[in-house]
Amino acid sequence: MTTSGRPHRVEGASSHTRQGMSVGNTEREVDFSAYVRARQTSLARFAYLLTGDPHSAEDLVQSSLAKVYGKWDHISTVESPDAYVRKVMVNEHTTWWRRAWRHRERTDSELIRVMDPAAAPVTGHDSELWAHVRSLAPQQRAAVVLRYYEDLTEAQTAEILGVSVGTVKSHTSRAISSLRSRMKEVTS
């Protein structure tokens, strides 16, 4: 599991009052910023696997973190903020799917960059497999990513997706089965 604890408060963080902003707000902002900086690569990677493209991933991270910031006073006190943030990201992404009319945010800044995978060359087989992962319905893809990338249990995955453990089992079973049949087609 890739979950890590909250980063400690940044040493020397400013607590001066800015114009129009209370001390509480400043501390909240510093705390939130420290968390984001510590976890943003992990969150961006998770978003990329959910969405399949860097621009959507960036939009997803931004919109989700904006929502998280709105509830940071509560989230910062829970034992595992990562689980909460992932839940917000999954819900946000599923909502996109449900609202075909959604106006996609144009993210001019390019905070996410796709580097050449260094580990191994991407083969045609991998491309087919990746294309298939991207073709899965959002909740099914989220289940697969949470189970096989984040290495969560079915109970953890169910909690984040807001579904039953049975639904998680069904999602992953069908995803694996369809991957198997797709790969058979490719290899034959």
Binding site: A44, R45, L65, A66, K169, I176
Partner: protein, 439 residues
């Protein structure tokens, strides 16, 4: 390629693609700015909405004062659609599921992965036997009861189904060799498609089979249907279908939203505790199920609450390793509300461990862990509350799942075979069953 190989390959692929993602900047100030902008936009929209309300209200009041009937304000997102029991759904049978043909009586299905060879025609309406929960089951791409066999589209894999009060069916299925997305449909008693309920969604059926509560995965609307497929009511809601009993639909919500009891006849609603997953047939009790939100997430909890009292007190609660060591998770009440039916938790793979607990005191009366595991895919407790019908995994060892049968078992697990054991193709920990019994 074996399934562990596939899982490893999938995991490696995901890590490889994720590893190529780098962040060159700081998301924090961008997210904070976006949050502030979203709040400003909402405030502007709220003001605009207020102006719009005044713009509508003033002419309405004005015209009401002049004798014109006022237009009722829409104060809820739910919409009731008049039910028309005699209406005939106008949807033409499609080539998805439900394009049924009825076969002559068949003998025991083959002990191979070959599909059944049922053929025939659908008899005129009214002359067919009517399916019941006690007689119906699915085998591969067929639904069977008595001596009838409804053939669904070739290659259909039934995931779950329920028998409706009129003898029709709600079926969730996917194509075994196509997209993995599941579809939900209402079929007529003759096996024809009458209504599509959506994709990748969830549904619940009332105990008398007269109502279906469904939500498509690509929609934010929950819909109640009559057994004939006609739409009874709908409501925009983030919650998920939990249960429906008579005209009361129960929507499952988390701790943020809470659950909801929605009267589809009147449109009224009341808030319920979070995590409602089942409601007793007399509507006096609701079952809740949740996980304790820890990093380990290894504490499953369930409880029963009294719906007749305004504070919804818990009558029984089992939480954590000490009280709920098998991590029982309820999904339904038995016919008279004596038991909760569900599963004990097993992480990984695709078969489940059947479970039954007594509502009054939380005692586990069927299933568990270790040698008490009752492995299977779908099951229900009969109307007598003493007979479990289960599509059972009879493989030894249980994984990879290679054998499947339908059994009728007492709560003491004395079992008899209802439908003969058959082999599963491509045995693995993710193998889907060939038999499915109704909910």
């Amino acid at each position: 390629m074996t399934t562990p190989d596939q899982e490893n390959e999938l995991q490696a692929l995901l890590r490889q693609h994720a590893g190529g993602i780098e962040v060159s900047g700081d998301f924090a100030p961008v997210a904070i700015a976006r949050r502030r902008r979203d709040r400003r936009n909402r405030a502007v929209l709220g003001a605009a909405a207020a102006v719009a309300v005044i713009a509508v209200a003033v002419p309405t009041v004005w015209s009401a004062g002049r004798g014109t009937p006022p237009v009722p304000a829409l104060t809820t997102s739910s919409t009731s659609v008049p039910s028309s029991p005699s209406s005939v759904p106008t949807q033409t049978p499609s080539v998805t599921t439900g394009t049924g043909t009825v076969a002559p009586p068949t003998s025991a299905p083959p002990l191979t992965s070959a599909p059944p060879t049922a053929t025939g025609t659908i008899p005129p309406s009214g002359t067919a036997q009517v399916a019941t929960r006690g007689t119906a089951y699915a085998l591969d791409d067929t639904i069977r009861f008595g001596d009838k066999v409804f053939r669904l589209q070739k290659g259909t894999a039934v995931e779950t189904f329920a028998v409706l009060g009129n003898g029709g069916f709600v079926v969730a299925s996917h194509m075994s060799d196509g997209p993995s997305q599941s579809i939900m449909e209402i079929l007529s008693p003759g096996g024809r498609l009458v209504t599509s309920l959506g994709v990748s969604g969830t549904y619940a059926v009332s105990p008398d089979g007269s109502r279906v509560l469904a939500k498509s995965g690509d929609s934010d609307t929950v819909v109640v249907y009559a057994a004939d497929g006609s739409k009874v009511a709908q409501r925009t809601d983030d919650r998920q279908p939990g249960a429906i009993v008579g005209d009361l639909a129960y929507l499952t919500g988390d701790t943020t939203t809470g659950s909801l009891e929605w009267d589809v006849a009147t449109g009224t609603s009341r808030k319920l505790p979070a995590h409602v997953v089942a409601v007793s047939p007399d509507r006096s009790r609701a079952a809740l199920q949740w996980f304790v939100a820890t990093d380990a997430m290894d504490e499953a909890c369930w409880a029963v609450v009294d719906l007749t009292r305004s504070t919804f007190p818990k009558t029984v609660e089992r939480c954590g390793a000490g009280q709920n060591p098998t991590m029982f998770m309820p999904t339904a009440f038995s016919s008279r509300g004596t038991y909760l039916v569900g599963s004990h938790y097993l992480d990984g793979g695709f078969w489940f461990s059947a479970g039954v607990v007594r509502v009054s005191d939380g005692t586990v009366v069927l299933g568990g862990t270790g040698d008490r595991v009752v492995s299977g895919w779908t099951w229900h407790l009969g109307d007598d509350e003493s007979t479990l019908v289960i599509s059972r995994n009879t493989s030894k060892p249980l994984t990879p799942a290679a054998r499947n049968t339908v059994q009728r078992c007492t709560l003491a697990m004395d079992c008899s075979v209802l439908h003969p054991e058959i082999g599963l193709s491509n045995p693995s920990s993710f193998t889907e069953p060939r038999y499915v019994v109704p909910r």
